[in-house]
Amino acid sequence: MDSSIINVVNLTIHAFLVGSLLLGLHRKIIARIQGRPGPPIIQYLLHTIKFYVKEITFPITAGNPLYIFVALLDVSVWLTALIIAIDLKSSLLIIIGIYVLQKIVEHGCGLSSGSPYGKIGGVRSVFSAAAEVPLFAVVAAIYLTTHSVLISDILNYQSIHGSLLFKMPICAFAFFILLVSKAPNSPFGIVKGKDIVSGYMTEHYGLLASIIYIAEAIAYFALLWIFIAVFIGPWVVSHPLITLAVMVGLTVILAFVNGLTPLLAPHHSVMLQMTIAGLVLCDVLYRLIMGG
């Protein structure tokens, strides 16, 4: 047995607990903004544990085994993200691939159940994928600046030249928009809008919902970690307590953004994300022409 696997198990549990608590904090802050007391911070964790021992039945309309497979794939996908980003510090391109698979999970969850709400959620996930994936043009800009997309190389570059946040503010903003889109109750969260019940998760209840919650907690942690590592710098990720403090800070900012903005209509959400992606593409072209 590899000793590195023990590190990964540690990391998984850490990511799950921290991600759950941060999502709970996110919900609490939104509640306070709206003038409600809100649930306790451990509510997300309690939900996960409660749903884990609740019954499930397969809908007669569902297409099995895809119906279960997508929920399990969600956990696999974000565990891969954890390993690739935090443990191996490998390529950012693989992270894009993983984010793309997250979109596939949303689509598959929605369509495989045969529920009309899930179907709308799935079709909306296709829309939002068309707008969110171009935001990853950020990676091209990073490559043009640091000449590598490996996270370890980006960290090295930042320890010499200072953090990338001030060198490429537009890219940092675009990546921040990705974080906003992934956070709950976000203005870009058309996939899980309350107008379509729970979006793609409508027919995944009980145990399967719990598994998806676990994946989302890990996803929140992983995306925050990647943002911090790529744009703020190695001095933050070198110590877990500083990382945690910055994550709490980011969660507060995200909660304020999400608490104060309404849910956009699908086309407006896509248009806004496309506009930001266009800004990033202009930035990439500028760097390409000025650099080469």
């Binding site: 309309t61 689509h107 495989s112």
Partner: protein, 218 residues
Amino acid sequence: MISSIIGQLFGIVPFGDIVFGFSEFSIIGFVVALIFTIVVYLTKPEKQLEAQKFRVEDKLEVVSLEELKIRRMMAIVCGIATAGAMLTYDLFDYALFLTLVGIANIGIVSAVKKDWVLNASYQYGLIAMIATLPLFGSAGMILAKTGTLSLFELPKIPTSLLFEKIIFAAGMAGETGIAPFYASKAEMFRAPGSPYILMIHLSSLLLIVRTVEILLTI
């Protein structure tokens, strides 16, 4: 140079001119495409509940057996083409796989007997056909400019390929149906039969990521 983008390179399989390479990135893509192909083969299509116009009750839509067979075959072809596109390290080969995925995508929805789905797939087909010109055109221009199409050789040649890259990206955008062209493709996803529809989405998204990798490499 190349390993700063795709992670560690484990080895290559040269079939004459056609080179297959195994890196961290391409192995993950390949495995994902293969697993999805197997799941798509095993999964029975779901039955969709559709609301009807001017009626209260809803209709249960079932995918019939002969429709299922042809769509499943096209979905598997699509999955294999995606898996191949993940591994290949030859630009022309990659463009071929890309067009094969485009053809298979139309094939997946063409057996559905619904007006709007067929309409959307027809429009997508037009765009995909137009997009093959910039795709193969840019591959040809790169060959004429540098004398090679191998993705291992291209980064070593110090020629600016900016224009070709932009054309290649435009061709890919049309073929996979992303941002400016997604309108017709999103309509295709309303067809019943989720596992096959999922394959369309998966193949195009994986190909986008792979194209980004290729454009950064060369």
